[in-house]
Subunit: 287 residues, 4 copies
C-alpha cells in the first residue's frame, strides 16, 4: 500500500521521479558537486560551540579531506530544557560557521527549523538542511524552496520513501531543483540491536536510484548514535552506492555540547578517510 | 534506550509526567471535559467541503451523540498537487466549521499547520489540533501554546512515547496546560496486515497512564485508513481505557473530498454509538 | 508484497480461507466451543510446577469462570541453561495437568515442541499448542495434524498473517480441521513503549475475520509480558471481537517458576472475569 | 529490554559471547576457513533441480571464484502445496549436491529441517544449514549439534540478536563449536521500500563483533528477494566487515524452480565477484 505506483510517479512526484532518460541530478555546492563521481564527505560538529572551535574543526577536517563543513546553530531538542552545555548560538553561530568555511575553503551546511529564520540562515549558509522532524513541515519547505539554495532533506525515521519523495517534490515544485536526500536511520523493529539508535536503511539508496534522479547521502552518526558504528556504516554506504556521507567530528567528542556519543575525533576521522579513499578507488569514485 | 527513565521524568518531562499524587488532568472544551468519566466522541468529516455540508454533518453527529465536531480547513498533503476535489477552504472553512459547531451545539477542533495561521485558527476553533507530521515542529508548538486554547497533540507514527511526551512538555512549559494526546497509529512491521495503514498502538494508552497525567484519545480512522476496522478499534479503545475517540464521519464517504476509504456514513456511526454506549456502561463510563 | 492476494486465497490457502458462504469454524474442546457465542477464557500457570499446584489452580480458575486450563510441561527456553526453579516436568507434568483438568472439570491445553513427543502429549491433553517459535516447523505441524486433536496455533512475533494462515493450511491439509489461531504479540517498532515485550496486534483479529473462517484467541500475558497490561488488553480483545483469551494465572506470581512478571494472581483474575462478563454482555457474548 | 546484559553474557551465553581475550572463531569447512582473512562466497541455486544442473552450476561458480556451493534438497515452503516446478529432490538431491561439490572442488552446505533427517543430510553435506524458520527449533538444534559438522545458523527475521545467540549457545553447549551465523534480513517497518522483502540488518554484523566471537555471513538474496539489490548489498556486507556472503546463482534465474526473482545469472555473478575482489583488497581481505 505504501508502494510507489505508476500513478504516483506520474501524478504525485513527476519532478522527483526518474523517467527513462532522466540523467542523475548533480547539485553544486561551492566547489563540489553532489551526485557525480566524487564521494562527498560533509564533516563537522553537531553544534557550533564557539568561533575558535568551529574554525579549528573546519581547518582540520579540510586537511583530512572533507568536502563540506557542517555545524548546528539552531538545534531542535526533544525537550524544552537546555542545560549549560546545550547552547544554541543562533545567528552568532551562523556567522562563525560562515567564517570557518571561508577560512578553511569549505562550503557549509546548517539546519533551519523555523520558517521565520530561513532568510537569515540562507544569508550565511551554502546549503540549507531540513531536519528529520521537519521533513513534512510543508510551510517550511516552501520557504526554503524560495531561496533556491541547495537543500539537504533528511528523512524522518518513520517515513516511507513515498513520503520522502513527496517532500522533495514540494521543494522542486516550488522552484528549487537543488535537492539532496539524506538517509539517517529508520524506526527499527525492537529486535534490532538496541545499542544502536535507529537502523540505517542502506537499501533505500538502491530504491532511490530506482525511482528518482536525486542524489542521496547517508548520515551514519545520527542514524546509529554510536561512535564505533559510524566508520563501518560509512564504508558500507560508499560500497552500496551513496553519493556521500555526513559525519559528526569533534576534537574531544566526550565534551561535545550535543550528542557526545556519536562524534569521531580527528584520529578516527583520519582513519575513516583513509579507508574510504581505498574503497572509493575500488568502486570507481574519487573522494 | 528509548525507555523513559527516572531522569527523564524528573528533568525532561517534569510537567507532563505523573508524580505519586498527581490527579489525572481534565481538559475542558466547551461543555465537555476530556479526561473525566465521559468517553468523548469527536466526529466529523476529514475536510470541511462547504457550509451546508459541515452544518448538516454537525447536526447529525450531535443527534447521534457526538461530543465534539472535527473538520479540516487546512490539510497537509503528502504531495504538492491538489485535484479539484481536494480543496482546502482555509479561513472560509474555519468560519463554516465555527458556524456548524454553534448551530449544532458542539465545540470544534481543527488542525493548524502553519505558525503564521495560529491566531486565525484560534479565533474560530475551540481546540487546536497539531497534526502528526508537526508533532515536533517546536516553533509551531510554542505559538499554539501561547493561545492557551486546548490542544489535541497527535502522535507521529514514527514517534516514541518519550518523544511525544517531550512535545507535550513544550506546550506545558510554554504555558498551556490544556493538552490532550491523540494516538493515530504507528509504523508497523511489514508483516502486519497490509490492508490497514498504520497499526493502532492501544497499549500506549496504558503506558501514558503509567507515566503521565494527560488524557488520551484514539483516532481509529487515520490509524487504520479502513472503514470496516474503525468501529471495532473504537470499541477496543474504549475497553482498554482511552478517554475518547476521534472518528471521520461523512454522509457519502465514497464522495468525501479527502480520505474516502475511512469515513463512516451516518448509519455506521449510529451503530457504533449504540455499541459504545453499551460498552461504556459496562466499564463504568458515560458517553 | 506480503498482502494476501486472490491467488493466495485460491491456490495457497484454499482450506484456511473464507469463501463467500463459509460459516465461521467452531472448534469443540471438551464441553466448550471456540468460535461460537461464548468468549473462551483459557487460564492457568505458565509451567506445571507440581501436582498439588496445578490442581489447586485448576479448581480456582474454574470457580472464577475459566473455560479451559493451560499449563506447560515442556518449555522452550531461549538459552540452554535452566536454574533450579525453571523445571520442566515432562510427561509427569502432563499427567498432573490431565488430573487437574479432570478434577476441576476443565479441558486442558499444553505445548508440544518435539515431533517425537506428539503422541505422548496427545494422550494427556485435550488440545495441543504449537508455540510461536515452531509456527513454521512443518514436520511438527504434520505430526500434530495426524492426531486430529484440536490445535492452538500461536503466531510467531515476526510472522505475517499470510505465513500464519499458511501454517494453518498445513494442519488443515494434513487432515485436522480443528485449528484455533492465537495472537501473542508482534515485533514492534523500537519506538513502541519498551516496558511491554511485544505489541499485541488486535487488528489482526479483524484481518482474520476478513480472510479466514478460523477462530482466534489472544494471549495478553505472553504478548505484553507485563502484569498491569494483561487485563486491559484482554478487555480490548473481547471488544474487538476475538473468540477468547489465554491468560497466565498463578497463586503467587512473583514465585512462578517461569515468566513471573506477567501472571495474574487469583484476585486480579477474579476482577478481570467480572469486567469481561460485563463487556461480554454489552457485545452480545456469553462468558 | 531485549538488550544483551552483563548477566546474559555470563549466565545465558557464556559460550557464544566474547570475553576480553577471546580470539574470533574460525570455522573450517573443506579447504576454507570462515572467520579469517578470506571473504567467503557461498554460491549456488536455491534448489537442486537435477544432477546435471547442480554440477554445471558448481563448476561455473567455482571458476568464477566461489568458495563453497549451496543448494537445497529439502525446502520449507510457506504453503503445503507444490506445483510441478517446486520439486524437492530429498536424498537424491543431496547425492547430486555432494557429487557436484566433489567434481568442482567445493565444500557444500544444505538445509536440514527435520530432526529425523539430520543423519542423512550430515552424510552428504560439509556444512548443515538451520533455516530461519527453525532458528529456535531446539530439538533440531540439539540433533545437529551432535553431528559436530559445521553449522550455518540463519537468523529468523523476527529474532533479536539475544535470541539468535541463544540458539547458537544451544549448538555450542551440545558440543558443536563450528557455528557460523547468517543474517538474511529482518522484519522491516512497513515504511521501508516495499519492493524489497526483508530489510538486511548490516549493523548486526557490528553488534555480533561486539558481543560474540562467532563468524557471520550475509545472505543478500533471501534478505532482499530482489535481483538488482543483491550485488550492492553484498558489497556493503563486505565493506562493513562480514566474513562472507551466501548468494543464489542460477543459469537462467527466471526459470529457477524456487525463488526466481532473486538469483543472479552467471554474468551478474562474475561482475559481482570482480567488484568484491577490488573491495576486498581495499579492506585488507582476500577473496
Amino acid at each position: 500500500m505504501k508502494d510507489i505506483s505508476e500513478q504516483d510517479l506520474k501524478s504525485n512526484i513527476p519532478l522527483a521521479s526518474k523517467k527513462e532518460n532522466t540523467p542523475k541530478s548533480r547539485v553544486t555546492v561551492g566547489n563540489h558537486v553532489i551526485g557525480g563521481d566524487q564521494f562527498i564527505v560533509i564533516a563537522g560538529p553537531c553544534a557550533v560551540e564557539s568561533e575558535s572551535q568551529i574554525i579549528e574543526i573546519a581547518k582540520e577536517v579540510k586537511r583530512l579531506g572533507a568536502s563540506m563543513l557542517r555545524g548546528g546553530a539552531y538545534k531542535p531538542l526533544t525537550f524544552p530544557y537546555r542545560n549549560d552545555r546545550m547552547f544554541e548560538l543562533g545567528e552568532e553561530g551562523l556567522r562563525y560557521l560562515h567564517q570557518a568555511g571561508k577560512e578553511a575553503g569549505l562550503p557549509v551546511v546548517t539546519e533551519v527549523m523555523d520558517g521565520r529564520l530561513v532568510e537569515t540562515v540562507a544569508r550565511w549558509a551554502d546549503m540549507l538542511q531540513i531536519g528529520a522532524r521537519n521533513m513534512q513541515n510543508f510551510p517550511l519547505l516552501i520557504e526554503v524552496a524560495k531561496t533556491k539554495k541547495p537543500v539537504l532533506l533528511k528523512r524522518h525515521p518513520g517515513s516511507s520513501l513515498r513520503d520522502w519523495l513527496g517532500a522533495a517534490e514540494y521543494l522542486l515544485y516550488h522552484g528549487n531543483p537543488n535537492v539532496v536526500l539524506c538517509e539517517r536511520g529508520i524506526v527499527a523493529p525492537h529486535t534490532h540491536d538496541p545499542t544502536s539508535r535507529f537502523l540505517v536503511d542502506l537499501e533505500v539508496v538502491l530504491a532511490i536510484r530506482e525511482y528518482s534522479h536525486l542524489p542521496v547521502v547517508v548520515d551514519p552518526s545520527h542514524a546509529t548514535f554510536k561512535r564505533s558504528y559510524v566508520g563501518p556504516v560509512a564504508k558500507a554506504a560508499l560500497a552500496i552506492g551513496a553519493d556521500g556521507i555526513m559525519v559528526d567530528v569533534h576534537p574531544v567528542p566526550e565534551k561535545a555540547a550535543v550528542d557526545p556519543l556519536q562524534a569521531l575525533n580527528y584520529s578516527a576521522f583520519r582513519d575513516l578517510m583513509l579507508s574510504l579513499r581505498k574503497i572509493a578507488e575500488a568502486v570507481g569514485k574519487t573522494l
